[in-house]
């Protein structure tokens, strides 16, 4: 029981931190421009594919460096030539634009790389068990994933709260006009934040690609969950996104690892139903089975009872 718990926690941590890398960029972009970037997970997917192509030629490590850079430049270009233009037509148009972009990126990836799964490998140096616990191995690559995510988290926090550029960004979020009057180029800051946000998503794709498989549907798999996190954490709140990422990561991991379900609950309550009961599917439901829908259930509940999210204070 304990080993299941420990490994579920570790796996949940890996997923949670990975989700945070996506969610942090998304929530930063939202607090700056007030637009939820539907294509954010598509940049994550682009990161994985670029890194795959680079790793074929030059190895994993160069991919780790250059793929996020390329994705970041693409993201900045999207902001400069796409979003800025659509901005005049209002929020709905912006949302719809990023939605269309997600659609287009998925099709473009199928065009350039084909619809099949890519054999994107983690580097050989990290191909050993980091430690063995209760006879189960925890791979070094997963440890590396945790390390990179934590580094990014600390780096992001330091830059945003301690550096001059971070202070300007924070000011530009709440008072863009004042910041512009002080002589800063606010559109450039927006473009930069969008670029860095998408580069972070790309980085998440680079390190997640080998573990979560690199295929054209990988954006959809993760995309909506990242949304859930950003909304649950409170739109625009970095700390909220961090808590929600870990929460969702652990929740899913525990739900998958557990082996309880409705039959256990019914046994506990002393109720039983016939097999041909019309709601038989409901009475035989197990927790691992409903693990994929838990985040969405949580999202709907949070939005009904606390529309601002856990840490959000942004009233619409």
């Amino acid at each position: 029981m304990l080993e299941v718990f420990i490994f579920a926690t570790l796996n949940g941590l890996v997923t949670g931190l990975l989700l945070f890398m996506l969610a942090s960029g998304l929530t930063l972009i939202f607090s700056m421009m007030g637009v939820l970037n539907f294509a954010h997970a598509s940049f994550y997917m682009l990161g994985a594919y670029f890194a795959y192509s680079i790793s074929l030629q030059f190895g994993f490590w160069l991919g780790l460096i250059f793929a996020p850079l390329i994705v970041g430049c693409l993201g900045a270009a999207v902001e400069r030539y796409g979003l800025r233009r659509v901005h005049e037509s209002g929020h709905v148009a912006e949302l719809v634009f990023t939605f269309g972009l997600a659609f287009l990126i998925e099709e473009a990836i199928q065009f350039f790389w084909g619809p099949d799964t890519k054999n994107y490998q983690s580097p050989d140096i990290l191909d050993f068990p980091l430690f063995t616990l209760f006879g189960q191995e925890f791979s070094a690559y997963r440890g590396f994933m945790i390390g990179v995510s934590v580094l990014i988290f600390i780096g992001l926090f330091r830059v945003l709260t301690r550096s001059r550029i971070g202070i300007i960004i924070q000011a530009a979020i709440t008072h863009p006009n004042t910041v512009a009057n002080l002589g800063h180029n606010v559109p450039l800051i927006f473009m930069g934040v969008f670029g860095v946000g998408t580069a972070l998503a790309g980085l998440a794709g680079v390190i997640a690609g080998p573990v979560l498989t690199t295929f054209p549907g990988m954006a959809i798999v993760l995309g909506s969950i990242v949304f859930v996190i950003v909304v649950i954490g409170g739109l625009g709140s970095l700390a909220g996104a961090f808590i929600a990422s870990l929460l969702i990561g652990l929740l899913q991991s525990y739900a998958i690892a557990s082996d309880v379900g409705m039959p256990d609950l019914l046994n506990f309550l002393g109720v039983s139903f016939e097999r041909d009961h019309p709601l038989n599917d409901l009475w035989t439901m197990t927790l691992p089975q409903i693990a994929p829908i838990l985040p969405f259930l949580l999202l709907v509940l949070v939005l009904i009872f606390r529309p601002t999210g856990l840490m959000g204070n942004r009233e619409e």
């Binding site: 939820l36 796409g82 233009r85 659509v86 037509s89 929020h91 709905v92 148009a93 949302l95 719809v96 634009f97 939605f99 269309g100 972009l101 659609f103 287009l104 998925e106 099709e107 473009a108 199928q110 065009f111 959809i220 909506s224 949304f227 859930v228 909304v231 739109l235 019309p278 709601l279 038989n280 599917d281 409901l282 439901m285 089975q289 409903i290 994929p292 829908i293 969405f296 259930l297 999202l299 709907v300 939005l303 009904i304 529309p307 619409e316």
Partner: protein, 413 residues
Amino acid sequence: MAMIKKLSVWIAFLLVMLALPQFSDSILSVSIYNQMAIAIIFALSYNMLLGQGGMLSFGHAVYFGLGGFLAVHTLIMMEFETVYFSIIWIPLVGGLFGLLAAIFIGSFSTHKAGTVFAMISLGIGELIAASSLIFVGFFGGEAGVSGDRTFGPPLFGVEFFQDVEIYYVAAVWVFIATVFMYLFTQTPAGRMANAVRDNPERAEFIGYSARRVRFISFCASGLFAGIAGGLFALNYEFITEENLNAATSGRVLLMAYIGGLGYFIGPILGAVILTLMNSLLSNYSDLWMLYLGIMFLLTVLFLPRGFAGFIMMHQVAWLKGSLKNLALPYLITCIPAILFLVGAIGMLEMSHSEDAIFHFLGMELDTSSTITWLAAIIFTLGSLFATSKSLPQLRDAWEEANTIPEVVKEDES
């Protein structure tokens, strides 16, 4: 007079729909007609939310799909003779279930519009799509559920074995649904939906609950989405999880947006264009989804009011009678633009083609030769350059055609 003009538009709409099978009644065209009919109702119901009510939904397929599922279950019940009525009422069954679902979900999701509403709709869409794979009894798992529409009582001797018979049922439903959705925009509820979309605060100040207004639009929209789902069930006789997931929700958003949100006719245009593209282009190219994506982004960027908005842009010129002055400038821009499209599509298809010789518009292109590629690139870039050179003359002509003479301005004041 205006009344007669309006009525004649509606009658023409009905006649065109009923006459369609006279032009072509091959299996392919009837299947396209049926898809169009379903798409028109679905897209119009979506426009009730987004275009008229200002609620961006990413889970509208839920009501379409739920209506469809109940409709198929009704067909199955007919097979076992639990219920017995003519299948022309099946879309209504779907609609009522869509309405029921909308009443339940709308009771908590319409508190707010904007991002909160969009996110709730996304969450609920994912929730229902994921649970459809868990509750196998109702949703049939991955395989979905299927029925048989021929067990109902025949209507005037028609037993609905053929798709074209279903088309006439669908056409009548499209007409009824369109009329009712149009009338809804004219009711106080429909007008208030516009007001709440534009400024919920002001609407509340004059005594309307923004939430109630949204709720009413939401329920009506669920009803019509369910009718579309019921028609889908009647046409295909099966329905799967795919029909209520995010992809279907996304498709209806594409249709409504490309067609034009602000206009009643917009979603109809979008539904027709996208269905045609879907069924015709997909025969010729694997890349049609890529083209669709590009077209969608270009629409959002350059035609924010969709195709209908593009047509309506010409209203001033038309009233002024200067529309004919625009024909030549349009032609001058269109020719290089079409050449550019041909070049770009040719290059995309060439790079996608696996054969050494690629057949394109009667030409045999060698995909491995550098000369072919060079020629294609020069052709494409050249036509792009010509297009950009032709834009200023179009802009000037446009300005000219839309300038209202001074005299008219004085008249107004």
